[in-house]
């Protein structure tokens, strides 16, 4: 079945043009003009990627995002009209995997969607199981365990962890991670990495404030300590 993208956008012109552009890529598009409809459509039909505009009438984009995130790991892209730290970080904190600022090029959107789909379909190729203290990462099974118990990570968080695990103790710059995990080929937004690292830490670190595994390397980026 063709990839289905659910686009939640109240502006008819934008929704239509996004639909046209995504259909040109060969993807199916589901449309919702408000948050409530979006949740119903997502529940009934599902989607492979969800595109949510932050400014929606009634239920706002953050709420839609949180609501969807409660039940699934489906890749979510937030669309914001502002590149202010507040909206971007709030969107990522709500569980979005990536964000786009209006006006974006349809090419940019499809590139982001492709990167997310890649992420959710192949969980890294090196099949070996990797162990870091009490943390075990199995890229092939897509499973992470901490002290023997499975940790639930979103696909982006998992991909980020696998990427860091691919070079134990090696320092990954935010730019490298943006490229490898999010598929950015330009000077990306480090906040994307920072928010996801923060979320990852709350799930795998004994003390997220004083990380044992995912350690910040001052001025350079992050590394995974074996």
């Amino acid at each position: 079945m063709a990839t289905q993208v659910l686009t939640v956008e109240d502006d008819d012109s934008i929704r239509t043009v996004v639909k046209l552009a995504l259909e040109d890529e060969g993807w199916g598009v589901l449309e919702a003009s408000n948050g409530e409809d979006a949740l119903v459509i997502f529940r009934d039909k599902g989607a492979d990627v969800v595109l949510i505009d932050i400014m929606l009438p009634g239920m706002n984009g953050f709420e839609v995002c949180r609501s969807i995130r409660r039940t699934t790991d489906v890749p979510i892209i937030m669309v914001t009209a502002r590149s202010d730290t507040h909206d971007v970080v709030a969107g990522l904190e709500a569980g979005a995997d990536d964000y786009l600022t209006k006006p974006f090029e349809p090419k940019e959107l499809s590139a982001r969607i492709r990167a997310l789909l890649r992420r959710s379909r192949s969980q890294g190729s090196d099949a070996v199981q990797m162990t870091f203290g009490e943390l075990e990462v199995s890229p092939e099974q897509g499973v992470v365990t901490l002290r023997g118990e499975q940790v639930h990570l979103t696909k982006t968080e998992f991909k980020l962890l696998v990427e860091l695990a691919s070079g134990p103790s090696k320092v990954f710059s935010r730019e490298t991670l943006l490229e490898k995990v999010w598929g950015y080929d330009y000077f990306g937004d480090g906040r994307l990495v920072d928010v996801h690292v923060r979320r990852l830490r709350t799930k795998i670190e004994p003390d997220p404030a004083d990380p044992r595994y995912v350690v910040t390397v001052r001025g350079l980026g992050y590394k995974l300590v074996p």
Partner: protein
Amino acid sequence: MAERRLGLRARVIIAFSIGALLLSALLSVVTYSVTRANLIEASEKDALSNAGTNALSINGELSDSTDISELVPLMTSVITPTNTLQGMLFDNRGYYVDTFRFTDQDLNDNLRETLLASKSASMTYDIGDQPHHVIGLPLPGAQANAYYIQAAPLQNVEQALNSLLPTLASASAITTVLGMAFGVYVTKRLLTPIDEISHAARLIASGDLATRLTSRGDPDLDQLIQSFNGMATSLQERIERDSRFASDVSHELRSPLMALTGSVAVLEGRRDDMPERAQVALDLLSTNIGRFKVLVEDLLEISRFDVGAVQLDTEEVALGEFIRQAIGAAVARERNVPIIHNNGTDELFVELDKRRIAQVIRNLSENADKYAGGVTQIRLHHDGDDVRIEIEDEGPGVPVEERELIFERFARGIEGGRRGSGTGVGLGLSLVTEHLRLQGGTISVTNRVDGLTGSRFVISLPKIVVE
């Protein structure tokens, strides 16, 4: 000419010092006068009783027949030796001078007259150079109008008073110093709220709009604090309203632009199916929407600066790596712009707003692409905490008379004045200036120093080096 006025602090301290000085001086003068009067009275009383005793003793030894020649031995035998001067006056036989240098001249006319008139006298006048208390008493045993005269120097009193003076002076000095110290204390107490207010005002001016003063429980100060907080609140609301407006406008402009950009992209995907004339029109549409998009983005960015709604978002980065990434993102993938490190800039950690500085570099790089064939190299220098980024090209350079102008809004160099290419909006460099200003940085353009043609954009970022 403006009069140089002393500060409130200095004036209050001076007032307190002068007050303390005046008060202590007054107290000293009063103390001195009272002490002096008391001492003189006591000494007079002393002298009077001493003189009375002596007069009584002499009187007992005297008779009408006592010869003048016997008087001296008589006096010396009777009188207890003191530091007084003695003499006798016989109105019919003249004055008799004693052995203690109490001479005829020492006998004041006034005393003589007072004695003869009222039989006794007590007065103070100078004998030799010194003030003496002179007492005259009648000697009825001798004959009528015979008097015993005794003069006691007031030196003791003066000495006592003289020793009091330094004590009083130092007490005054100490009081003055204490007054000054009190003045310092009071001004400190008084000015602390003023210092807090000025600190708060500085914080607000530097962008911390949520700054408020806390009540001190003093009704006089609370009024000021309330009006200050009221001002801060309305200022904050106003700025937030303005920034909300900018952000609302941003949304309003971005949405139609989004629809336009998307539609053109969909059309471009079908360009080959179109007749030639439609293709030309599509290209025009596409180019101009691109220009429009850049203009709107730049305008929105600059309006955020104008309403003060911008926030610096700094983080610590390795300078060399950051510049490499930033220029790498700005230029085409296959191009490699050499970065030349000077005095250890490759090992430098700096604190900067990555997004803004990357945008500055991208902007300069795009300008170089448009007008000068692209950036050829980047040089990094640092001087203490200050970092200099020099971005060089090998283009025609910027004429001297345009070197300041190009950083102003909607200003373009002569080369950029041609709109034929359909690109180039004169906001880029003014945005660069604003981005840098937010970090305390500056930009200027000069010739290349190595003698090659081309321009060199020099970005100075002060105090960003970490450690």
